[in-house]
Symmetry: C2
Subunit: 237 residues, 2 copies
């Protein structure tokens, strides 16, 4: 079976968390939004869809349509060997994913504190204030949390949960990639304080399928339309 | 078995979505944070916890500790008859819950656009701008979506999904309650345009266990420390 991923073309965005999971699992998928942008809006406007998504990304798997990034990963987890089979393990990995989603949203809101309907250029002073708080307080709090989760799991393995990588590890890799792109100065300091996260990032980057994916043109470069944007003025001194 | 809910005392907050689910299911639970605030921070600081929550609410069920509101409801769903048993139905209800969580966060960020670390009083002009966009664009978009979901399900039942209420219906009830408290003027208009949501709200409010809960002192009144805050200046004309 071939999955169909529907997401905006031109950005990694939230779709990237799904792409990394599908790529690392070696699953067959079509990136529909990149092939045919109208297919995405056509589907969102289709009155016959029983379970309409509020927004991309969504994944078609046969007749099933699943939306919300964390929910898509919840679905793919046991099916593609990306999460533990048992209930406690599945809930724990999902909990980590939802916490990563909170961090991703805060990283986005740094450049859009007044909401996505205003351009960054129209909320720059507000972004500067939010960015300072993000770098000094929120980001260290989140990174400290994930560093601690890795430390508590160290007797079992080098991952967030158990002995093998889950979709949450792939997502943490992507978050670190995005943060380093958006906040290179702040992350140079923070990386030193969070060696387990940095090591996990490198371990994921070295996985053969991830390595091949990152080198391919399926990986869209970071840019200033996505979630993680490099505006030097938001990166501090 | 008695569940233990851990959440900040004094506010409904995100804990309320869990309380409503437990109450409507007739489940036995202790609201630990209200009985003993130190129990909550003691648990968060406990180095022996394998799966530490990032933040409240979290739910103890025997040895299991589950955090992230939507994840707690995902866990309670099939166990307490609050969600469909089948995979497609479970994913759909969870997807709706995650979309409600997005709306709840945006409702919160109206009074905290620069982040939770600044007092509202120190971000009032920014709140005014974000509030105008929320009332005019974001809120109608979300409510229009849920009205549409109710319409698409009408052949099956008067709920978001299938023939019976799920935790997502209880959460939509709570969102409407909160929005009416925070934005009474805006919601008076919006309620007229979303009759299915208003009807669902009333149907949930009339459920015997919900009715008894709302009349009890277990229901904390809305206030200006919670997610939904009534600041008249943010409610428009």
């Amino acid at each position: 079976m071939t999955y169909e991923l529907y997401y905006w073309p031109g950005i990694q965005g939230r779709g990237e968390f799904v792409r990394l999971a599908l790529e690392d699992a070696g699953a067959r998928y079509r990136d529909v939004g990149r092939e045919d942008r109208t297919a995405l809006t056509r589907f969102l406007d289709d009155r016959k869809v029983t379970h309409p998504p509020f927004a991309p990304p969504f994944l078609k798997s046969g007749k099933l349509v699943v939306a919300q990034t964390a929910n898509i990963l919840l679905y793919l987890g046991p099916r593609e060997g990306l999460a533990p089979k048992g209930e406690a393990g599945r809930l724990w990995v999902h909990q980590l994913q939802l916490t990563l989603a909170d961090l991703v949203l805060e990283a986005h809101d740094v450049h859009h504190p007044l909401g996505a309907n205003f351009y960054y250029e129209n909320q720059k002073p507000e972004s500067l204030r939010r960015a300072a708080d993000f770098r000094a307080e929120r980001l260290p709090k989140f990174l400290g949390y994930f560093e601690d989760v890795l430390a508590r799991n160290r007797a079992k393995g080098d991952y967030l949960s158990g002995r093998t990588r889950s979709y949450a590890d792939l997502s943490l890799f992507q978050v670190v990639e995005g943060l380093r792109y958006a906040f290179p100065r702040a992350m140079a300091r923070l990386d030193r304080d969070h060696p387990r996260i940095a090591a996990l990032h490198d371990r994921i980057a070295a996985r053969p399928r991830i390595k091949a994916y990152l080198a391919s043109d399926r990986r869209i470069p970071f840019n200033e339309d996505g979630i993680f944007r490099h505006y030097p003025e938001l990166d501090g001194d």
